[in-house]
């Protein structure tokens, strides 16, 4: 059994508390919404809000009516990880009436520090040293990974990944049930969050390098895993079932992506593989790790310019990196170096053919778009672990005293001088940088001259670590507050309103906001990010203003329907019909002939519904369903300007009717005269049942994990007491 690391709870407690407070202080303008979220964090907020809104109303949102005039929601759900039981922390208070923003900012902070706590524990099991673990925790918490909470959703897969490695290593050391369940739970979370291929690549490469560096231990791990599973059949079966189940949503999503019913033009642009999730190698290579690093140097060379997405670690990390030149080689360091080096090679497609090689041979490499993610997911935490491991080794060696101690101090001095030279060369005039440098030098000086205890050395080094990020994030906050001013002066508060989904409510909107038309006569749309295949066709080929005008109203009632062949006829026919407001809808030529009623004489223009009327009003509405009450004087063709997609069905007075793909991309149905209830419904009941079952399963597994962890801790305490008694 592994002997647990020596604990110094008081120091850990203070370090945790202070780090969290400093972090929260540094980003308070974002946490309190004085400055806006940016980039992917905006859509993350959007989708999370929509998801929580729906879930708290008892609906699992399979459809997103606000994205691209309606689109399947699976892709966006993957970004947030819909089965993550921690989302309960938002859902329950939200249901009880707490506002969404405080819950959101509280949740992202919690989740970030949950990840950092995992990193601290991971560093502790790797180094078996509290000092190193705390330093690693502070370095990573105050790195620019913290900024990514407000400009990306990377933490949603970073946190479970960190915990996965923690559980993996603790399981390798002692085959405890909680470690096994922890691994399974994290894998399940990762398999349902965004694209799991990043994680799969990270784990597979880890196993390969681990086997290379620790061949005996690798075999021992497999044997121990097998033995554990044989000894714990119930837990193993449950875990295997969980692992199989968590692949179901991903598999279904992957399958639907192969059918091409939805598109991701920006992502899939020019890709040869038919699956719309696939990406051309050149697209992935365009912005990889070197580009991200070069880009970051611009913002980190002068902290006053600091901005989001800049790869940044406090100055102490670089001092320790240089200092580590003199550290002794051990397998841990070699493993970390080789593994990190592999990702540098993989992430530099213009420098090495590794990515292209894997792209051509391993299927899931076709689904990466962001190679630079590895910089944040692997390189950054690995860098921190690497430098603290080196420091720990040097401090251990320095205890020998004499010449060894002196030579290590000389290395520290040289490292500081080299960093100072780099700062001067870079013309870095930030005060905090030089304060950090001086404090770090003083810490080493005093420690090696035995004027500081190890704890005090840690305290001073931590001070040197936190001072620089505080200045950097101060400038970041300041510049983003200015962004708010720009928005305010341009009177574009809608951009700051952050979310379309803030408007999503139980009250149905009959129109899509205000009609804002673009100035030019015929305008091309920007490429669509995500939408159904038919909506994308409209988006790409139709005048942007005509399309905006048309989709402004969600319901249009027509008297007449004409057949239209997507393959042969020009989309401009429909465009002209919309421009002139003709009372005719178009359905595909292969629709059943008896339903085409081209002979009916039209009575005036088509009827656009812009609010509840006697003839048509919405009586029930949620993400997957729209129920209408109609009272028409004559039979009419109703076009619901929400994207058509396989899986949608229509019911008239409870009886399933024929749903048409109308006007290229939308849903249409013939509605008879008189009082009727028309209902559009998406998704089968069994699909929703699977999703809800998974939600419950994940929550159950988390409870089981916590329970078994507590049981293992109690058993360990008992064992330790027994050892002490003996």
């Amino acid at each position: 059994m592994a002997i647990p690391a020596k604990k110094t709870p008081s120091i850990s407690f203070y370090v945790f508390g202070i780090t969290v407070c400093l972090w929260a202080y540094s980003f308070h303008v974002f946490l309190t919404r004085q400055a806006p979220l940016t980039s992917d964090a905006v859509s993350f907020y959007d989708h999370l809000k929509f998801y929580i809104d729906s879930i708290t109303r008892g609906v699992y949102p399979l459809w997103d009516p606000l994205w691209s005039s309606g689109a399947p929601n699976e892709f966006f759900l993957r970004r947030i990880g819909p089965f993550n039981p921690f989302l309960v922390l938002i859902a329950v208070p939200y249901k009880l009436g707490v506002g969404f923003w405080p819950l959101f900012s509280g949740f992202v902070t919690f989740y970030f520090f949950l990840g950092m706590l995992g990193f601290y524990r991971l560093a502790r099991v790797i180094s078996r040293d509290e000092f190193s673990a705390l330093l690693a925790f502070v370095l990573l918490s105050l790195s620019s990974l913290g900024t990514r909470v407000f400009d990306s959703y990377i933490m949603m897969f970073m946190t479970p990944m960190i915990w996965f490695f923690y559980f993996l290593i603790t399981f390798g050391q002692a085959q405890k049930r909680h470690a096994f369940l922890g691994m399974v739970f994290c894998v399940m979370l990762l398999m349902t969050t965004y694209i799991p291929f990043y994680f799969i690549t990270i784990v597979l490469s880890f196993f390969i390098f681990f086997t290379l560096v620790y061949p005996k231990q690798a075999v021992g791990f497999v044997v121990a895993l097998f033995r554990f599973m044989v000894r714990n059949p119930a837990v193993s079966l449950l875990s295997l079932a969980g692992l199989a189940l968590c692949c179901v949503p991903g598999y279904l999503f992957f399958k639907s992506a192969s059918q091409g019913t939805f598109t991701l033009p920006l992502r899939h642009f020019d890709a040869q593989h038919e699956n719309v999730l696939s990406v051309k190698a050149a697209v992935t290579s365009y912005w990889a790790m070197p580009e991200d690093l070069v880009y970051s140097t611009f913002y980190t060379s002068d902290l006053r310019l600091f901005d989001f997405a800049a790869f940044y670690l406090p100055l102490t990390a670089y001092i320790l990196l240089l200092l580590g030149l003199a550290a002794r080689l051990n397998r841990k360091i070699v493993l970390m170096f080789l593994w990190g080096f592999f990702f540098l090679l993989l992430g530099s497609p213009h420098l090495t053919p590794l990515y292209q090689f894997l792209h051509d041979r391993i299927f899931f490499f076709k689904y990466f778009r962001n190679l630079h993610f590895f910089l944040w997911l692997v390189i950054m935490p690995l860098f921190v672990l690497f430098v603290v491991e080196q420091l720990k080794d040097l401090l251990d060696e320095a205890q020998k005293g004499g010449r060894v101690k002196l030579s290590i101090f000389c290395s520290a001095l040289l490292a500081h001088l080299a960093v100072a030279a780099a700062l001067i060369w870079q013309d870095s005039m930030n005060y905090s940088t030089w304060i950090a440098w001086l404090v770090s030098l003083a810490a080493f000086f005093l420690y090696f001259w035995s004027r500081l205890s190890r704890d005090m050395f840690l305290a001073v080094l931590l001070f040197a670590t936190v001072v620089q990020p505080l200045e950097a994030y101060h400038y970041l906050s300041k510049s983003w507050l200015k962004v708010v001013e720009v928005y305010l002066t341009r009177n574009a508060l809608t951009s700051l309103g952050l979310s379309e989904y803030d408007r999503f409510s139980s009250k149905f909107e009959y129109t899509r906001g205000e009609k804002v038309l673009l100035p030019a006569a015929r305008v091309k749309n920007e490429p669509l990010y995500f939408g159904t295949q038919w909506y994308t066709a409209l988006w790409d080929n139709m005048d942007a203003n005509v399309l905006r005008n048309y989709t402004h109203s969600k319901f249009i009632l027509y008297d007449r329907v004409l057949a239209f062949d997507d393959q042969k006829e020009d989309i401009r026919v429909i465009e002209q019909a919309w421009e002139k407001g003709l009372n005719v809808a178009f359905v595909p030529a292969d629709s059943p002939v008896e339903n085409l009623e081209g002979s009916i004489v039209t009575r005036g223009p088509a009827m656009t519904v812009s609010g509840p009327t006697q003839q048509l009003r919405v009586i029930r509405y949620n993400a997957n369903q729209v129920r209408l009450k109609t009272d028409l004087s004559a039979k009419k063709f109703l076009v619901f300007n929400d994207s058509y997609f396989p899986g949608w069905r229509v019911f008239i007075d409870g009886k399933e009717g024929s749903l048409y793909r109308a006007n290229i991309a939308f849903k249409g149905v013939w509605v008879p005269a008189g009082d009727h209830v028309v209902e559009f419904r998406f998704g089968e009941a069994k699909r929703s049942a699977i999703e809800i079952f998974l939600l419950v399963f994940y929550c159950g597994l988390l409870v089981l994990l916590v329970w078994s962890w507590r049981k293992d801790i109690l058993a360990e305490k008992k064992w330790l007491e027994g050892v002490r008694d003996v």
Partner: protein
């Protein structure tokens, strides 16, 4: 008994001093050195990243034409962009020069001078590097240096200068008709011709400030020989230099040409009058009269107005 492969003392020494992390760093350094064989990878990273810092498109033309109109924040944006460009492309003289250009308008003339000096060392075939150095020297009242820089500027072969501008991505992005080589060549030609005219003019002004009339006459003659637009000013300087060099005969010829070229200012008639008087010719009185009347109308040539602190982009 097996013999040790190496002496145990050597092994211990190696183990103590060489089994260290720096071996891994050496490996990484070797990789980086190997990587330099693929400059495309580095350039791609630099250019792709640099493209993300490009200043706002609407400010690009203003930056070229009249940067003084830009706000401090906008100028800072250009400054950072060209700083990064110079850092990413350490061999690009133009990137350095444009860095200097943005420093100048940002108010830091010392940094601007340093950047242009570096640019000149890297590429001595561009007229505007010297010219701008001259303007900066004039601003700093260093007339000797200004004279030297302007002299160097007009000594640059115009053909080579045109070639350098047309071949530089940094300038071409600001010039019209990039996709029509003929139009581009014409545009660059006209642009360069105008630059040289300004170069000669500044050179003559610095000669005047230095009271170097021999050089003034020499360069004024050269400028006249170049047949620039609005030649009057060059005839004036030639006339002034000739008069100061006690060659009134020649001065009268030049100054009369200046008047013919519609360069009619009080000074021209005054120097003309003086030259005519030196020759003992009666027309001198008429010239003085004309000078007085122009003086009353404030039609005075102000050489300092020629340098409005404007650098050549």
């Amino acid at each position: 008994m097996s013999r040790a492969f190496i002496d145990p003392r050597v092994a211990a020494f190696l183990n103590t001093y060489f089994k260290r992390v720096f071996l891994l760093y050496l490996l990484a350094a070797a990789f980086l050195v190997w990587g330099t064989r693929f400059p495309y990878a580095f350039n791609h990273a630099k250019f792709t990243a640099l493209n993300r810092y490009i200043p706002k498109a609407e400010n690009m033309v203003i930056f070229k034409e009249d940067p003084a109109k830009l706000t401090e924040g906008d100028l800072k944006e250009f400054e950072r962009y060209y700083e990064k460009a110079a850092l990413f492309m350490p061999r690009s003289a133009e990137a350095r020069a444009l860095k200097g250009y943005s420093y100048y308008y940002g108010g830091d003339k010392v940094k601007a001078q340093r950047a242009y000096s570096q640019a000149v060392r890297m590429n001595p075939k561009l007229f505007n590097f010297y010219y701008n150095l001259g303007i900066i020297a004039l601003d700093r009242k260093d007339h000797k240096k200004a004279f030297a820089h302007f002299k160097d500027s007009v000594a640059v072969d115009p053909g080579v200068n045109v070639q350098s501008i047309s071949g530089s991505v940094w300038y071409i992005m600001f010039l019209p008709s990039v996709h029509q080589p003929q139009l581009l060549a014409n545009a660059v030609g006209t642009h360069v011709r105008d630059q040289y005219r300004r170069g000669y003019l500044q050179l003559l002004i610095s000669c005047e400030l230095l009271n170097d009339h021999a050089s003034m006459l020499l360069y004024a003659r050269k400028a006249i020989a170049n047949d620039f637009l609005n030649q009057g000013v060059f005839y004036y300087y030639a006339g002034l230099a000739a008069y100061q060099l006690n060659e009134p005969q020649q001065a009268v010829v030049f100054l009369q040409e200046a008047v013919k070229h519609k360069f009619q200012y009080a000074q021209v008639y005054q120097v003309l009058g003086l030259s005519l008087r030196a020759l003992g010719r009666p027309e001198s009185e008429a010239a003085f009269k004309a000078s007085m009347s122009l003086l009353k109308d404030e039609k005075i040539y102000r050489p300092e107005a020629e340098n409005r602190g404007l650098l050549i982009f």
